[in-house]
Symmetry: C2
Subunit: 208 residues, 2 copies
DNA sequence: GTCTATATGGCGATAGAC
DNA sequence: GTCTATCGCCATATAGAC
């Protein structure tokens, strides 16, 4: 079994992910990235020219993966209930293992929102297409004629916020890492249940 | 009507809020804060000694207000359904008017989680007390014997995340400021409905 | 490709006149 | 209390030897 030997460039990119994810653009130091990668500081500039370039590479990698998965799940042929379960489980699992990621992405988007256009076109992702698909399924499978946008945002909120708020859960409620792991595990079943329960009630009482 | 004339110190603090909220600790510049307040840079040091002190003052102000309101609502004598409505409406209103706040607070907590202890003790806030109160009401009013923690986190998620994700909503879905205002307005009724619907289903089917 | 050395600028903080 | 001037440090980035 031949071991994967990363090139210097890959080592730098991995180190940059670690540092940018936890410290953000302004807080990160090129020296720290170099140390983390075990290379000389000048090499970082040699491969990526400047801090902005390196940061963009890190951001595209992080956000691109998440967006692609989002699209993959919601454009698939699964029934809507299964999609919700799959999405919630996948996102909670992935984000809780990379818990710096969501905060990093939101910070980046609030500072440089233009970066997202590049990624959407480069990866050929269309959020409108995805929303249309959800609306169609909500209508045909759940027999609800409602705007799917709020539902969609609710799914994202319930999956992402609890990971985003990890430091808050630890410092306010004093949860340990073990308790947090249990908490996230529970949410993988509780959240889809919660959402489908809420939707079922609309079925009985189609006010909208 | 005598106009409120802010002291220099107050002007600096207000300016610091604006700059720290939007740029974070590392991104903020003492010079920018001074410019924003219309004073000389040295005056900022004169009143607050250093950047850390100033930042702590800003953080305590922001987070303290939100925590106090959270406690006030959930420890009040309102029925649980009304509490949820009140909370959702208040938080969406307040946060969407100060949309930098939630991201600012989460960043701060992930970098210096120890700051929260000070605030909790200084403001005499007890999260455990609040959770106990919710459990009690969920049991007596909704006749559900379930752990209120997930419900509580769901309420926070559905209220806070959509504001936190404002830049995401704007850049991915291309929402304008007007569309966002409508969106947040809709959520003030949709979210409590969604939550209470979900809880009602547990009532019919008390698996837990 | 990888290193050392250095240019260049910006930032937080202080000293000291008024 | 408010200003000007400046110190000392550190960060990004580049030049150039190997």
């Amino acid at each position: 079994m031949d071991k994967f030997i990363p090139t210097t460039e890959e080592r730098i990119l991995e180190a940059a992910k670690k540092v940018f994810h936890s410290k953000g653009f302004d807080g990160a130091r090129m020296q720290e990235i170099a140390d983390e990668a075990g290379v000389n500081k000048s090499l970082v500039h040699y491969y990526f020219r400047n801090k902005d370039n390196l940061f963009n590479a890190v951001f595209e990698d992080a956000f691109g993966k998440l967006l692609a998965k989002l699209n993959e799940i919601f454009l698939s042929d699964l029934p809507i209930a299964t999609k919700i379960e799959t999405f919630v489980t996948y996102y909670i699992t992935f984000l809780s293992r990379n818990s710096y990621l969501p905060l990093f992405i939101l910070n980046c988007l609030s500072e440089k929102p233009e970066l997202i256009k590049t990624i959407l076109t480069r990866k050929q992702l269309s959020p409108d297409h995805m929303l249309a698909r959800i609306r169609e399924q909500v209508r045909s499978e759940l027999h609800l004629d409602i705007d799917p946008f709020h539902i969609y945002i609710n799914i994202l909120s319930l999956s992402i916020f609890p990971v985003l708020a990890k430091p808050l859960l630890m410092s306010i409620f004093g949860l340990s890492n073990e308790q947090l792991a249990v908490f996230y595990e529970e949410r993988k079943t509780i959240v889809p249940e919660f959402i489908l329960n809420a939707l079922k009630s609309y079925e009985n009482n189609p006010s909208k």
